[in-house]
């Protein structure tokens, strides 16, 4: 059954390809949330920002004429802008007005989410009934797409997938190899020390929260421009929450986040793939719950003393910074 020509249809390759498909929005949104959390801002509005990005990207791609790649680029940028605007509300309320980050983030998800603005925009612009005009197609890089195993995985992906890989590299280099990366980590760990060093805690938090919003918007755009080709209310179906789990699961490290995203992405399609090929039925609920259970376990492990210092939660995560208050 598994000849060289068919190996690209094997269960192994199928699972990895579907893991990358479902994992890509998680990579974007996850890296965004990771950057915000590294600066000390917990944004629980990811689900709302992703839905807004998804609906805005779809709307723009339906409205705009011109070459497909221009339309798609503008649509993704528009999704990023919508994420920035929403995260600006969160940043203003939590950083400037020092309101509770949990409450503000949940409010953002209600405001923009399945019963909120994204659904409203979809209804007002009548997007639900429209079939999509544009979507990201797989690029056969150097014509290597048919090479066994690595072909479909590495050389036959969409522009968004390649962009997400570049993003992970950039984020890792930024956090660990640049001065600003060091600064943002210190703002998230010890804002009073960072402040004493002359860093503007607020500025760092604003910038990273907004970048986080932009990336969540882009992650949402992947849903309407790649995974599906239409708009449905609440179509991200909890991906924003998985992205938040993912940041914790990867111990706030971009390179681990990429692996985690594909692992969590694999769980979404795994139940069906295994059942279709082997007749082994494992309830889908178990696959769906697994990422969250693994996250709780990982989180518990890293709360133990010595590991905590190397892999643990940014110490100031969720705590508003007020100069002079200890």
């Amino acid at each position: 059954m598994i000849a060289t020509s068919h190996i690209n249809d094997s269960l192994f390759v199928t699972i990895i390809v579907s893991a990358i498909l479902f994992g890509t929005p998680l990579v974007f949104a996850g890296i965004g949330e990771l950057l915000a959390e590294r600066s000390g801002i917990l944004n629980l509005g990811v689900e709302g920002m992703m839905l807004m990005g998804a609906v805005v990207a779809f709307w723009v791609s339906q409205k705009l004429g011109g070459p497909a790649w221009v339309v798609l680029l503008v649509a993704v940028l528009a999704a990023a802008v919508s994420g920035v605007v929403l995260s600006l509300i969160h940043a203003f309320v939590t950083i400037t007005l020092r309101a509770n980050q949990i409450v503000s983030g949940l409010t953002l998800t209600i405001f923009a989410g399945i019963i909120g603005l994204s659904s409203y925009v979809g209804a007002v612009k009548n997007l639900g009934a429209q079939p999509g005009k544009h979507q990201f197609n797989d690029i056969n890089v150097f014509g290597l797409g048919k090479v066994p195993v690595i072909g479909p995985i590495l050389f036959h992906q969409t522009a968004m997938v390649y962009a997400s890989w570049i993003l992970v590299i950039l984020a890792a280099v930024y956090l660990y190899r640049t001065r600003f990366g060091l600064y943002v980590r210190s703002v998230g760990e010890a804002p009073d020390a960072a402040d004493a060093m002359g860093l503007s805690v607020s500025k760092y938090r604003y910038v990273h929260t907004l970048v986080g919003g932009a990336l969540a918007g882009v992650g949402g755009a992947v849903f309407t421009l790649q995974i599906a080709t239409n708009w449905i209310d609440g179509m991200t179906a909890g991906a924003g929450w998985i992205a938040i789990a993912l940041v914790i699961f990867s111990f706030w490290r971009p390179e681990l986040l990429l692996l985690g995203a594909y692992l969590f992405g694999a769980f979404q399609g795994l139940g069906f793939d295994i059942q279709a090929r082997t007749n082994i039925t494992i309830p889908t609920e178990i696959w769906s719950a697994l990422p969250y259970i693994m996250t709780v376990v990982a989180l518990t492990l890293v709360s133990v003393g010595s590991i905590r210092r190397r892999l643990g939660t940014p110490a100031a995560l969720g705590v508003p910074y007020i100069r002079g208050e200890r």
């Binding site: 203003f92 400037t96 409203y120 209804a123 007002v124 805690v201 604003y206 789990a245 609920e285």
Partner: protein, 379 residues
């Protein structure tokens, strides 16, 4: 003093203006829309009763969040604790169906509370004894609880699932409770007040009194306002965190009990998930500034908007408008909280501290820290 009254009303007014702008942009008349909301949630026949039904779960989840957040224990697992409460109550109700009705009702309440308590005990223990961030664990456990209830109804032939009726073979659903498990309501003329609502209102008063004038409540407030003071005063912090988490979980479990006993009479995972009462409860608590008595009012307010959203659904009031208007309201109230926490004083801009934010930050007056409790959520 006047600030604490003026600010909430001011922020509601501001929210109506901002919401009005959104309505105008999308081609609706704000005044008629607001009028419709009031009609559909209060004045129309039957509307008030529907609003009471909508507010009941929010009252419980709001109280659950208020109790925990007041002590700065961030239990955002109300959603999952609600599911577990519903699982517990419906399980007990199905199992004891032949008992006399009052006993079944009591057993369901107890069963649901215990289930909610146990589910909240997981993040509570992890936080108290391993110092694991309870925000993240309680949030994750919501999804585990959701999948668990899905599994009971859609993924297995569990005790909760209806496997006998022909319709249920095609569309999986839960077993219906017998009449003994249906909670009685209080009828006042044509108005029926659900049992859950009465329990909830009573509970709000009990919690208010507890926080205000018992030793337990005093220790809670000390821990919430200043964890160090609590430590120096010899308050047993770990035990306290654990007990507040469990208390909060039990109250959220009651929301699930009431969903099963008062309204659904069946374990309905899809319906509970769509409603998202656990998350909205946190918003309800924040609006009430974690005061249990005020939770009664804010759960009514949010319940009314939710109910109006259902009633008015149509081309001029798409589903998404409910969340949009709620979100605007909440952001306005959240933002305004600053003005009640700090006294505002104007001063020359050159003295502005350097850690202010760029852009939007400069658009508002620089608050001078004078009086109030900085930083905390504590009222």
């Amino acid at each position: 003093m006047w600030v604490s009254v003026a600010v909430p009303f001011g922020s509601i007014l501001l929210a109506m203006v901002v919401g009005g702008i959104v309505l105008v942009i999308s081609g609706n008349n704000p005044l008629t829309t607001y009028q419709n909301i009031v009609q559909a949630s209060i004045t129309q026949p039957g509307a008030f009763e529907q609003t009471l039904i909508s507010m009941t779960p929010l009252l419980f989840t709001g109280l659950a969040a208020a109790v925990a957040f007041r002590m700065r224990v961030w239990n955002i697992g109300g959603e999952g604790q609600l599911y577990m409460g519903a699982v517990g109550a419906s399980g007990v109700g199905l199992f004891l169906h032949s008992w006399p009705a009052p006993l079944v009702v009591l057993a369901m309440v107890v069963g649901g509370i215990i289930a909610g308590c146990l589910w909240a005990a997981i993040p509570g223990a992890l936080r108290a004894y391993l110092n694991t961030n309870e925000i993240l664990t309680s949030l994750m456990l919501n999804y585990v609880a959701l999948q668990f209830t899905n599994y009971l109804i859609f993924g297995s032939h569990s005790y909760w699932r209806d496997v006998s009726s022909p319709e249920a073979q095609v569309f999986p659903s839960g077993k219906n409770l017998e009449a003994s498990g249906n909670f009685p309501g209080l009828s006042i003329r044509s108005l029926v007040i659900p049992l859950g609502l009465m329990i909830g209102v009573g509970l709000a008063f009990v919690l208010w009194g507890m926080i205000r004038s018992t030793k337990y409540g005093f220790e809670m407030r000390v821990l919430g306002d200043s964890p160090r003071t609590a430590k120096y005063a010899g308050i047993r912090t770990r035990r306290k965190i654990m007990s507040v988490m469990v208390l909060s979980g039990g109250i959220a479990g009651l929301a699930g009990v009431s969903q099963v006993g008062d309204f659904n009479h069946v374990l309905d995972p899809r319906g509970m998930q769509q409603a998202g009462y656990g998350y909205t409860g946190i918003i309800v608590a924040a609006l009430a500034r974690y005061n249990p008595l005020a939770v009664i009012l804010t759960s009514f307010l949010i319940g009314a908007i939710t109910n109006a959203g259902f009633a008015l659904q149509g081309p001029h009031f798409p589903t998404g408008l409910t969340g949009t208007l709620e979100g605007i309201l909440l952001f306005c109230v959240l933002g305004a909280e600053l003005f009640t926490r700090y006294r505002l004083r104007w001063r020359p801009t050159r003295e502005a501290p350097s850690d202010r934010s760029p852009g939007t930050g400069s658009a508002i007056p620089q608050p001078a820290l004078a009086g109030g409790t900085p930083g905390g959520e504590a009222p």
